[in-house]
Symmetry: C2
Subunit: 222 residues, 2 copies
């Protein structure tokens, strides 16, 4: 053991595959970017490792120094996208700070809009993520977790509104949160990924309006 100059790709991967050196990290990033381009163009199944390495301008063997399969590089790309979505959605509904209930509508609208914008930007990869969620357990897991987290956040908001008497107390927060998440996410899917045509501003504002109507939100009791 302790040979110098590792011979097999697998050994290299385990040794310094994550990018032990600046150069290595660059190549890895290059491959990740190229993979994304190819996936967006061809989809997961039709994408070939050969195309990815061509796009990255490296050789076939190099790919396997950094990823042990096409699937793994896909997961890598998806991880980036997921993080971006997470950010866009998480921030705005922030729990701390101004608790003024009248701000709720504004925050909700902002959250939805941010989500839709990020969705549009990444629609191709998100569509693939949706598809791969049923093929690869790990991608599926990631999708489920993202959704669960989001639902929990929404459910908490609903409960707060119920305590404040702005939403009927007999509405089940979990079911409602699930349905609302479905409404927004799936509408985005058909609109932005599948190309159903809608006027941008109309769609966004209608979505927020329906969101509020669905939970029976009553503006105020002045």
């Amino acid at each position: 053991m302790s040979k110098s100059t590792l011979g097999t790709a697998k050994a290299r991967r385990e040794q310094y595959g994550q990018g032990g050196t600046e150069r290595g990290r660059r190549t890895r990033a290059l491959l990740l970017a190229a993979a994304r381009t190819v996936f967006e163009r061809d989809g997961y199944l039709d994408a070939r490792v050969a195309d990815i390495v061509t796009a990255a301008g490296v050789s076939h063997g190099t790919f396997y120094t950094y990823f042990d399969s096409k699937l793994q590089v896909f997961r890598g790309v998806i991880a980036e996208v997921s993080a971006e979505i997470q950010d866009a959605v998480t921030v705005p509904l922030g729990e701390r700070g101004d608790r003024d209930p009248s701000d709720f509508v504004r925050r909700l609208d902002l959250s939805n809009r941010r989500f839709l914008d990020v969705y549009r930007k990444n629609h191709r990869m998100l569509m693939l993520m949706e598809q791969m969620a049923t093929i690869d357990p790990e991608v599926g897991e990631r999708r489920v977790l993202g959704r669960r987290r989001h639902i929990e956040r929404i459910a908490a908001s609903i409960r707060r509104l119920q305590r404040e008497g702005l939403v009927p107390r007999d509405l089940d927060p979990r079911v409602a949160a699930g349905a609302l998440t479905s409404m927004v996410a799936n509408f985005a899917y058909h609109w932005l990924a599948m190309g159903e045509a809608f006027d941008e501003e109309l769609a966004k504002s209608t979505l927020t309006r329906m969101w509020l109507g669905a939970i029976g939100y009553t503006p105020a009791r002045s």
Copy 2:
């Protein structure tokens, strides 16, 4: 030409592949049923033609007498399921007969419940259909058409309610119908196909309630 006893599978397919005889029709149906079983168990990608023919108790070659590819037999199965969904959803909201607007809620609720029941019954294939919609253009087309039809029906209902003053006129029927369809269909997907746990009756009634709330439906103006 005009040989008797066709030699190649392709020729047979074109000649009497649809089932020229009772026996042939039976085998074809057998294969279709077996395919469905295997797809439901293994998914599309992992399903092998070898498994399908084993399940059907016929030989490999026979399969290709009736279908020219794994994809085509999948389309066949999907066609059956689509038809079943279509039926369940179409009937109840029927446009003729009792136009009593107070019946609307009842009809809507019934339609949603039927949809959810059929979805549960076929959840595995519907999940696969969702997946394949992004892989095979023909399946994708079918899905889009189904959704479009459904949206148009819903939009028409909304317009009627608007004319009757039960729903605000400034709500865009198309966007609303799209969002509602997304809400119900995608909620069903996560609940019935992905196994998110919800109480059955609670989920169903909440869905209808939110549906109505989302369009700003006002029961009556007595």
